[in-house]
Amino acid sequence: MLRDITLGQYYQAESPVHRLDPRTKLIITFVYLISLFIFTNPYVFTLAAVFLILVTLLSKVPFKFILKGLKPIGFLLLFTAIMNIFFTDGEVIFSVWKIEATKEGLERAVYMSVRLVFLVFGSNIMTLTTTPTRLTNAMESLMKPLSVVKIPVHEIAMMMSIALRFIPILVDETDKIMKAQLARGADFESGNVIKKTKSLIPVLVPLFISAFRRANDLAMAMEARCYHGGKGRTQMKPLRYAKRDVAAFLISVVYLMAVILIGHYTGSVKL
């Protein structure tokens, strides 16, 4: 029942996007996110959509799969849209009691929603085509320069990869505990919000205990193998850029230039 969460999930496939160096993907995703925020106009957004669709097709990840990952932001989307529509000054379309919906608000709501969807969609493609291990490797590699100012880059990357690794485990565990409590007559559905929240205690307490137990075991296992942080540590499969990474960078540079050019000549919509 909890398996719909796509965060940190990997979609196994053979595609050029999967084969790219994770650092390349990380940087391009970052560039893409920036491109969404430079200009606000329909032409730029269309270009961004085309880019997104092409990359998705290339990655062989089914659209359905990514769209499922968008579900969790549905509420956020609705909330921001409503706030924008009703609380922006401008030309009034209709009003409910003292709250007025405005044309400007509607416009802003549409742009914001589209931007948010592209944002999550784009980063989902990255996480779906990159295993968590490679992703954290990439972050470690990209943040290396920060170790000069005594930031424990390796340790942070290790913490992140452990956290990501534990998401599916804890999801499974939650599923099991919920079933066990259902078998004892627990009810997670009926009643008001307070009752529903209370009904989660029998799930949360065992879940936390299990998380601590797992953390303890893992720490012990790491210590037993003499783990002592990043100093002097080498990798079995070090990251290396290949020709396809250069190609990918070139494409993203062309994309960014196109966005800037189109944006420059069409201008931003005033919001």
């Binding site: 099991k176 505990i177 078998a183 205690i201 205990i209």
Partner: protein, 328 residues
Amino acid sequence: MSLFKRKNNTDTGKEYGPEGSGENRKKYPETDTPDPDGKNSSKDPRVPLLVADHLVYEYSRGTDHLVRALDDVSFSIKKGEFIGLIGHTGSGKSTLVQHLNALLSPVSGTVYFKGEDVFEKGYDRKKLRSKVGLVFQYPEHQLFEETVFADVCFGPKNIGMSRKQAELTAYETIKKVGLPDECFYHSPFDLSGGQKRRVAIAGVLAMKPELLVLDEPTAGLDPKGRDEILTMIDSLRADGEMAIVLVSHSMEDVAQYADRIMVIEKGKKLFDGTPHEVFSHIDELDEIGLAAPEMSYVMRELKKAGIDVNTNVLTIPEARDEILKALG
């Protein structure tokens, strides 16, 4: 909260088509008393406690990783029976037992409890879960209350018992599973592994189920704890009312206690009969990698060595008698 609601939707058993269940309903009266009404049948003593009717279950449907975990499994359980359910890891045992209290709903086929289809719309599945008590693997991982007593009260309170009644039942049950009095107000997390497991089993037992299903209740316990738990489970059927399904992969455990054994392999029911019947298929069991009780092997070797013994022997006392007899 939407996460939980979805579960409910699949729970209502929409997944199997009407034609499938119609066919099943026709088959059902053949094996037992026909009763179109279904209401009276629950009182008829001839109706089995629970009937699993051609259950099929598939994991990861609609993807290319489809796994058929249950393939046309049917059986019935009578009142007071002690059934051993045996199979490898991944054979579908755990999937099967989750159908018995409607935690999973089958792709096709259905389960009847006292003659009523539990996947029918409007069937009270919460009540079913109190009547078919399911103890999961490592049940101590579900404990959450501050005291042992409060944790055992959780189930009875959920099914609508009054506070007093729930506490009374909890008291009785904790006694029944053999926990000492001083444990009552301890935190369940301070107990030993075996004791925790007893508390967890008590938590299910306190709902007074008519069928108790235990999924590998001895996993991860030392031999002493294992024997204690099994003896305790055996003692639960003293009054002959409650039926028990014991899921295990230890042949010794099951052979010693069960009246009937079912063997599941790759989602299919392979054997179903008394321990002696099932373990007479020692070669087939060997083939799928499920060993028969050790004594069966001893007797087989003795026979090969030319000593005239009955090879269908399961426990050590039985083997002792048989060898003494053969030696005169």
